[in-house]
Amino acid sequence: MKRDDALTKKYVPCALWDFAGLQAWLNQQAQAGYALERWPGRSFIGRVSFRRDPEAPHTRYCLDPIGELIGETELRDRAASYREFGWHYVDRIGKLYAIYRTDDPAAQNLYTDPESLDWAMKKQMRFAWVSVIVWILWVAVIFRKDWPLLLRWPEEYLMNLILRAEILIPLYGILLILVITAVSGGIGTLLGVRQTKAYLRQGQWPPVSSRHYPEFCRFLLTAITAGALVLFLVFLGVSGVLHTRVLSGPEEWAFPHVTLEEVLPAGASLRAYDNRELLHSDTFDHSLLAPEQYDVAQGGKVTREDGTVTKTRLYQEHVRTLSPALAQAVYRGRVTAHRHTLEEYRINWEENTSTLHSNLPNAFDSMAEESVSYPGLDGLTRFTYQFSDERHPNVVYIGLAGERVFVLNCSGAADSQEALSLLVQRLDQA
């Protein structure tokens, strides 16, 4: 009888580490008249190619553990040695097993006692460990910028999620699924090989586990998730979600705010900076969880009545969230972010003091953070600090009022107390 040239693809019902399951499945296919044609390498999606062959029912398949640590030369030597015993190399299952076939009914199985198979799987165990470590290192590297924030400043991390909800939540969700799929594959192989070895060590052959097509399911999940990631990135590119709107000036500040002119000392005059590069642009952002996010700045040279000139700046941020609980999270995040920024600034300052600022005292001696109780606000934190080249302290208020969070950053001649008082009144009216 002739072999059928058409290939038949069949889904692998068990995990790739499952020695007994794979071997039993290959032999079942042989009994049903299907000879294994090839096992896909990198393009493996959970199914393999068989060819209908009338001789197949007389064929037996056996697996030989290889592990990635075994070299190609050793694999070829093994194949040549096994040939003398009637076993012929067919293909390899990834980095785990070599597949051998025999048509000789008298040929002994490759492994005739469990202990020797246990020893043969020693390299696989090492490979499985290496594989898991590599996956974990990969995760650590791709999220290297997030780990410090997540572990040391989690409140700031949560705030970023709220402020960029429609970008970060789906993106992290998709990446998390991809990472969990990859890492769980490595861990699954490690545990599976370990379990198989435990049976073998006790002198028992590992049982054939139940069939649930894990390899194809994993491929499907990865493909769907990767597809979702691509679509999401395309959506981000074309939807304009990533673009921050630049505001032309205070006429577009549709949130409770104060202006620099209102908080200057009596009789002082302001010459505002013409060059916006001295200040950052006024911007408006929004997200699903925080639909209003303003970040604005004013600054200039202030001349007091006595003729002294002071560089003065007033930065304001305003966030309105969908609920007070979200606002609370943003408030905590803002406080943490400010503390974090100052901490990094301090470290940088101290590292460079001996070489660059040897004649200056430690600028952070005067830095203070305090929680303040203030009528009309649910929370208020005040940061004060003064750099050694400044004549006035910087005062930053971070406050919470219901669903709103604000940051009021005053420097130079701006009266921070007055600014806070005015802002709280306007928040109350909003």
């Binding site: 056996c62 096994y82 015993f85 076993w87 002994q108 490759l110 198979l117 020893w119």
Partner: protein, 103 residues
């Protein structure tokens, strides 16, 4: 003296070491020896055989003496003989105990 870490040997291990007592052998000759010696009772698949040979070589119980193309021949080392003799002594002792109980 053996270090005791090899004891007890499994049946296939004992017979593979036994195959080298009188002469150097290659893989097929070992399988034939074990089959003849045990009347087919102990089966030695090629995976089992080459895994054991690899393990014994790693543990310096045997050493390679000749490579003729694909054919590799091995012989027992002094340590291998010691380990074998200790295992035989252990089995002899077991057998003695077992027989005493039968009397």
């Amino acid at each position: 003296m053996g270090d005791g870490k090899h004891s007890p040997l499994t049946e296939p291990m004992l017979y593979v070491l036994m195959a080298f007592l009188r002469q150097e052998r290659c893989g097929t000759e070992i399988t034939q020896f074990v089959s003849d010696k045990t009347g087919g009772r102990v089966r030695l698949g090629p995976g089992t055989l080459y895994t054991l040979l690899g393990k014994f070589q790693e543990e310096k119980l045997i050493e390679e003496t000749q490579v003729d193309g694909r054919k590799r021949t091995y012989r027992l080392t002094h340590l291998g003989r010691t380990v074998y003799e200790e295992e035989v002594e252990r089995l002899r002792s077991c057998l003695r105990d077992a027989e005493e109980e039968l009397l």
